[in-house]
């Protein structure tokens, strides 16, 4: 979740409220207070509310909840006279663009920091790491309109932001961190999107990097905002969020004309989002018997306006999709803390799942037999699963790109996990008798099969096959009334001649044996180990 840092002195001035009033109410507009000290609070906001991505935007929202300023904010947009022409070849590269000018700004360092942070959050959230859209901000006074959004080859050269020397598009892609991170977003080879002004200065090479020539500084009084991307809706959303935030910081929004072959469009389009006010639905969802007037007041505190049966939201409210979304807006404006709880009565008896009960009983029976229960991870490392037992990992069930190699394959047996547990406790008192009830996975023809196993290992100087078998027989009898039959068998974990397959009513349900010397040694153990592993679903079937 993205984070906004709110400096309290500045914020109190912006909202016109006391510190405690602010801290008290921030969570009730949907912001999680992550940390706070005397001077600032850090709040997490949801990426679907980018309008809360700056302290400026949060102030706008909080003024509504506190009743300082209610209803939908209205932003006047006047034409700037600037135009941008769009190269038709971009349709297969990065087709969508929107732009606007914001003038009359007096940004201080904190404003600039907030807006940069919003830009970054927008890129990572709704922009899906710049794939869907990328935003560029430029010092308008250094731009010579009109602009062109065009396709260039890899040899096109300009001075990228933060650099002094010119570089080609091709070298930017291979030699800069931005190029390596975002270059892959541009489809196809040899065709790259560029925004240039009438003098040929490169404003931007989206979605990779801006040009240095139009860099925003603290002296910037007017900015040009351009957003390029793959979806016009998302591009318009981002432009609306960016421009209205700048307007909230004191700027005037001016539109830019986007010219394509056969079509002209003024951006930003800040026409309000409209949703029908379904008062019955809202009452039903919230369980509050609010009058129409109460509902309107609540919506206005959420910075929405109502005309007859339609609710209007400023264009930056990109999260509103369905009329049910207004229920939350009413709840927020009404005050979530005011909603009284009501216990929903039930005439249902409730019931446990029989297999979950069986798993629970298995734990109780094993503990009664003197065993200590382990709970370890289902995702394990390949080495302890296969290599240490000298078996092939060909049938492994692996996950894609795990963050940790310690958790990269789904186990097909509990014995490696239990051996790992023993190996981590060689300094603990012996005898050690441990068990685990866990899910295991195996590859089958059409996918993955899951089952629940009971695994048990006994480690001490005198342990033997017969001790393991004694426990196994006791558990099968106690848990399922089942008598097992044992047949000589081979198993990757157990020693030759000291292993049996375990059958119940003619079905193979597991193995019992003494761990092979190789396995004991591979896990660094210095005492013999015996144990068993059985399929609990098979055992459960004996209960019927």
């Amino acid at each position: 979740m993205p984070v906004v840092r709110i400096g309290l002195r500045r914020f109190q001035r912006m909202v016109g409220a006391s510190r405690s009033e602010i801290l008290d109410k921030l969570p009730f507009i949907g912001l999680d207070i992550e940390s706070s000290d005397g001077e600032a609070v850090r709040v997490e906001y949801s990426p679907n509310r980018p309008d809360l991505g700056t302290d400026i935007g949060i102030a706008r929202s909080l003024k509504g909840l506190l009743g300082r300023e209610t209803g939908m904010p209205v932003y006047v947009v006047k034409p700037s006279g600037i135009s941008v022409s769009v190269d038709g070849r971009l349709s297969s590269v990065r087709p969508c663009i929107g732009a606007a000018a914001v003038t009359g700004l007096r940004l201080d360092a904190e404003d600039v920091r907030q807006i940069m942070s919003l830009q970054e959050d927008l890129h990572n959230g709704l922009g899906r790491k710049r794939r869907v859209f990328a935003i560029g901000l430029h010092d308008l006074e250094r731009v010579a309109p009109p602009l062109s959004y065009m396709v260039v080859g890899p040899d096109c050269s300009f001075v990228p932001l933060g650099s002094r020397a010119p570089a080609t598009v091709g070298s930017i892609l291979t030699d800069t961190p931005e190029g390596r991170s975002y270059g892959a977003i541009i489809p196809g080879r040899g065709k790259y999107p560029i925004i240039k002004d009438s003098r040929g200065s490169v404003l931007s090479f989206p979605p990779v990097i801006n040009g240095d020539a139009t860099r925003v500084t603290e002296k910037t009084r007017a900015v040009l905002v351009e957003v390029t991307g793959t979806g016009q809706g998302a591009v318009d959303d981002a432009l609306a969020v960016a421009t209205t935030t700048l307007a909230e910081a004191g700027g005037r929004i001016m539109s830019v004309r986007v010219e394509r072959r056969g079509s002209v469009r003024e951006t930003p389009d800040l026409s309000p989002v409209q949703l029908p006010l379904d008062t019955d639905l809202i009452r039903r969802v919230l369980g509050l018997q609010l009058t129409g007037q109460e509902m309107v007041e609540a919506l206005e505190r959420s910075r929405l306006s109502v005309r007859r049966t339609t609710v209007f939201a400023a264009r930056y409210r990109v999260d509103l999709m369905h009329r049910v979304d207004l229920a939350e807006e009413v709840a927020l404006g009404y005050g979530i803390w005011r909603i009284g709880p009501l216990y929903p009565p039930s005439n249902q008896p409730g019931s446990f799942h029989p297999f979950e009960q069986f798993l629970d009983a298995a734990s109780t029976v094993m503990a009664g037999a003197g065993m200590l229960e382990m709970m370890t991870f289902e995702l394990v490392d390949e080495g302890s699963m296969y290599a240490r037992f000298g078996r092939s990992g060909a049938a492994k069930v692996a996950v894609h790109q795990p963050r940790s190699l310690e958790h990269s394959v789904l186990r097909d047996s509990l014995i490696p996990s239990l051996m790992t547990a023993l190996s981590e406790n060689v300094r603990s008192d012996y005898p050690q008798r441990i068990f685990e009830i866990g899910r295991v996975y195996s590859r089958v023809a059409d996918g993955v099969s899951e089952s629940w196993h009971l695994g048990c290992l006994v480690a001490h100087s005198q342990t033997s096959f017969s001790e393991a078998k004694m426990f196994l027989e006791a558990v099968c009898r106690t848990l399922a009334g089942a008598e097992i039959s044992a047949h000589e068998a081979e198993h990757w974990a157990f020693a030759h001649g000291r292993c049996a397959s375990v059958g119940i009513s003619g079905r193979m349900v597991g193995h019992v044996g003494e761990l092979s010397a190789e396995a004991v040694d591979a896990f660094g153990l210095r005492v013999p180990v015996a144990g068993f592993e059985v399929d609990l679903r098979e055992l459960r079937k004996q209960l019927k």
């Binding site: 919230l286 249902q348 409730g350 094993m366 200590l372 790992t420 406790n425 899951e450």
Partner: protein
């Protein structure tokens, strides 16, 4: 083994009565007697003469010559009484040392006269040493028992014998009881809580097509949460049965344009291949929503407590596998107030007295509420659960026409608060030390 000591003791043996005493006693009983009467009391004249002479010389008797024949009577009784006392003591075994100097002279005269004999006794004392005593104990031990064996009990050999004493203050061997895992016990408590509130438990697999884990919950296919950095996809595997018809077609349309729900949808082209990818479930809502679509019940409460999987690097507050305890209530007329009411009751039963709800965002609920609980230890409100009312874009494509309240709380965070530990990894470590020594009801 023994100590021998010798000692000599002498004793007196009285063999008769001195004649002068016989004479005095005769006079005392008769008052006075003539010489011839006295003489007849003795065995011989010589014995009488000696007795008469000693008694008269000692002044014990007097002779009255005025009578004829002259009579004899006792003049002084003390001398005779002293002699009688010495003879009496000696005859009762008194040692010579018990007499006074005067008396010992009398005894010596009596010995000389043969009336008293002096006997000397030599005695030898034998006593046992410490070594002797333990040698004796050893021989006795052969008759004590180490333990009551079945043979000893059967034969009656124990009779008259004792168990050999042992050092009862010595250390006993260390023993660790078998135990259930604390997470299992906590899950048991959660399950009982749910069932006591009328819920039916669900059980299901960990591997699901992305369709059920994401698409059916109106999570768009390009949502950051669906990326591999956050979700485990199984390598080289996908569901082959999913087809764009029925529920799947409805869900696809809801994503693209809102279907008939009145939503504007996400506005992108929905891909079935993406929905077929197999994932390890990232939340248990996948179980409740599948149950919902299968049963389409109008009145139901179901829950599942089981593992969910996230592609996370492990640290003190993140695990790649952890537990959630998701639940839903389906029913006509249910609303947000019921959701809050249920969550308050649920957490109260689990020991969280103070909870409240804040607005938050999930793609599949509207409104969406964050449940937070006050932690005394952290002195802060801690996130406990997401919750909300399923959106129409979720319920309507599944054919569900009544409200569905849903929530998905984490298990571990509540456990950490109980156990007072701050690293989630401790719960799933294999440290036998902790598992063996932890106090059973600590924290509950």
């Amino acid at each position: 083994m023994v100590v021998i000591s010798e000692a000599e003791t002498s004793a007196l043996l009285v063999e008769g009565t001195p004649a002068e005493l016989v004479l005095v006693r005769a006079l005392e009983s008769e008052g006075q007697l003539t010489i011839s009467e006295l003489k007849s009391r003795f065995r011989s004249d010589g014995e009488f003469s000696a007795a008469f002479g000693r008694a008269r010389a000692a002044g014990w008797i007097s002779l009255d010559n005025s009578r004829s024949p002259p009579s004899v009577r006792v003049a002084d009784r003390k001398g005779a009484e002293a002699l009688a006392s010495v003879v009496d003591s000696a005859s009762r075994g008194a040692a010579e040392s018990a007499f006074t100097e005067e008396e010992r002279k009398v005894i010596a005269e009596l010995v000389r006269r043969g009336i008293v004999k002096k006997l000397t006794t030599k005695s030898v004392t034998v006593s046992i040493t410490e070594a002797g005593r333990s040698a004796v104990a050893e021989r006795e031990a052969e008759r004590a028992l180490d333990r009551l064996s079945p043979e000893v009990l059967a034969s009656g050999e124990w009779k008259g014998k004792q168990l050999r004493p042992i050092d009862v203050e010595a250390r006993a061997p260390v023993f660790f009881p078998g135990r259930r895992h604390p997470v299992r016990d906590f899950i048991r408590e959660v399950r009982e809580t749910y069932v006591s509130m009328g819920f039916t438990e669900l059980e299901g697999g960990s591997v699901h097509p992305a369709f059920w884990n994401f698409d059916a919950l109106f999570i768009p296919q390009d949502h950051p949460g669906r990326e591999m950095q956050d979700t485990f996809y199984l390598e080289g595997l996908s569901d082959r049965t999913l087809a764009r018809k029925g529920v799947v077609a409805n869900v696809a349309a809801a994503h693209e344009n809102g279907w008939q729900t009145g939503s504007r949808g996400w506005g992108y082209r929905w891909q079935i291949e993406e929905a077929r990818r197999l994932v390890l479930r990232t939340h248990n809502t996948v179980l409740t929503v599948r149950a919902l679509s299968e049963s389409r019940e109008k009145d139901a409460r179901v829950f599942a407590v089981s593992k969910v999987y996230r592609n996370e690097s492990l640290d003190y507050k993140h695990l790649a596998e952890f537990h959630q305890m998701d639940g839903i209530i389906v029913g006509e007329g249910l609303n947000v107030r019921h959701l809050i009411g249920f969550l308050q009751a649920f957490y109260k039963k689990l020991g969280m007295r103070d909870i409240k709800v804040w607005p938050t965002y999930f793609p599949y609920t509207e409104p969406s509420l964050e449940v937070v609980g006050y932690s005394e230890a952290a002195k802060a409100w801690i996130e406990l659960s997401g919750s909300g009312v399923f959106r129409p874009e979720v319920t309507e494509p599944l054919g569900v026409k009544v409200p569905v309240l849903a929530w998905g709380p984490g298990v571990e965070r509540l456990m950490l608060m109980r156990f007072g530990i701050d690293d989630m990894r401790e719960l799933y470590g294999s440290d036998l030390g902790w598992l063996r020594r932890r106090v059973e009801l600590a924290g509950s």
